[in-house]
Structures are given as C-alpha cells and as structure tokens.
Amino acid sequence: MPLPGSDPPLCRAKYDDGSLQLALRNAIGAIAAAQAAIETFGATAAMPARLQNRVEVVFEEIVSNIIRHGFDHGTAQSIAVTMTASPQRVTLCFEDDGRAFNPLTLPPPKTFGSLATAKIGGLGVATVRRLAADIDYQRVNDADGHACNRLTVTLAREPAPETCAGR
C-alpha cells in the first residue's frame, strides 16, 4: 500500500480466474515493474520459453510505444493490460487513453534491404505484427465514457503462422 502522499505504484497486478490484469502508469519504468507478474503468469499457464519470450516482446513493444508516442509526458494517463491463456493461444489486450493510433493502418513491414539504407523506425510495431497470429484494433469508450485505444494481440502456442508475416 502506498504511503500517504506518495506516488502510486508503476504497476498493479491482479490475477483473476486465470487471467492477469495489469494497471500501468505513464512511465517507462512500468514495463520493468510488470516483469515479475508476467513471468508468474507464463509459469502458471505453462508457457514454453519461446512463447513466454514472445509475450514479453509484445508487451514491451506495445507499452513502450504507447508511453513514448501515445501519451504526453508526465500525465496521469494509464494503460490496462489483460492477458489470458488457453491451450491454443495467449491473448494480450491493451487499453490506453492516449492519442488514437491504429497500428494496422501502417504499411506492411518491409525487409531492411542493406545496412547503409536500413530504416530503423517502426521496428516494434512491425515485430508485433510478425509475431502475432491475429491483431485487432478498436477505438472504444471506457467505463467512464472516455475514448480509448483497444489493441488485442493473439499469439499462437505454436510459432506464428506465415499468414501474418506480411501484415
């Protein structure tokens, strides 16, 4: 429990009926603060090491993108993340009250080509699109009626299918 007058924690984690719910503050440190809870979730869901790693990569890339590009610095904006696991898939749902951003409107990720000309921006979103079995984006209203981004990323238990590689 935070002391009176102190900042709330960077990350609050709650396990509920097999799912992990994270409430993250608008701070890059929230990513590291969530790591132990995500590892525990992966262990509880008996995720193989590679799948656990993909979950952590997707979490890192999406959350860091929201904080760096979707939020204004130092605001009380927040991200709610829900992770659920089934025998076939793991689903990560991110809801944030930042600027509207649909990553699916970006052109499909390209190959680098050459070292001299490689474009190094947008790698995070491109990686998530390549790892995911499915991605869905919606602009929705939260419980308080505020518009927010909802991005749902589904990872297959087996390696990501080729069908999503070009998205």
Partner: protein, 112 residues
C-alpha cells in the same frame, strides 16, 4: 544490460548480459556504442548471457554496425539463445548484420 570487453584471437569481444529491453538499452547504449562503433576492425559481440531483446536493441545494433562500417569495421553477433535468435530473425537483423551461432563462427565471419 552489463557490458564486458576482452581480446579474443586479436579481435575485440564485447560480452553483453541481462535484458536488452527499453531500460537496459537506455542504460548501456552509450557504453556499447563507444566500444563497438569506433573500431576500424571487426568486433565480435557475445549475446550468450542476453536473456531478452527488444526493438531498441536491434536499433542499437544497426546504428552501431553502420557506424563501424563507415570506419572500415564490422559487427558480428554470436551465441544468442533460441528465444533471442527468434526475435533477431523476426526483426530481420540477421539480413544486414553478421550473426553466428557461436564464437568460432563469429571469428570466421570477422576474418572474412
């Protein structure tokens, strides 16, 4: 991210360890770049103790390899575990930066 440097068969070998995530790269990028981007001969980078890699690390490797190439140097990564290798390949880093499975392979690529 921790960084350690030594000489291996006449080549500078930089050993990275820990998580190469947003926080890790933020803490270690300057030190890594200072070691690797200024060399005029190949540098091999041991990823054997790296447990996690994210896009900021891939960006760091590309910009460092590019800077090294301008000086006639070369960056060769090696020893990544299976999970880190999957992300390196997913991001396509291995298309433009030399990657070897082990130190012997890295030294062979460095000598090319």
């Amino acid at each position: 991210m921790q960084i350690d440097c030594s000489d291996v068969d006449g080549f500078q070998c930089i050993r990275l360890s820990g998580r190469l995530d947003t926080a890790g790269v933020g803490n270690g990028e300057l030190g890594f770049t200072a070691m690797a981007a200024t060399a005029s001969k190949p540098v091999i980078v041991d990823l054997g103790e790296v447990s996690f890699i994210a896009s900021l690390a891939v960006r760091m490797f590309i910009s460092t390899a590019r800077a090294a190439a301008r000086k006639g140097g070369k960056l060769v990564l090696f020893g990544a575990n299976a999970a880190v290798t999957e992300i390196i390949e997913t991001m396509g880093l291995d298309e433009i930066v030399a990657v070897a499975p082990d130190q012997a392979g890295a030294l062979a690529l460095a000598r090319e």
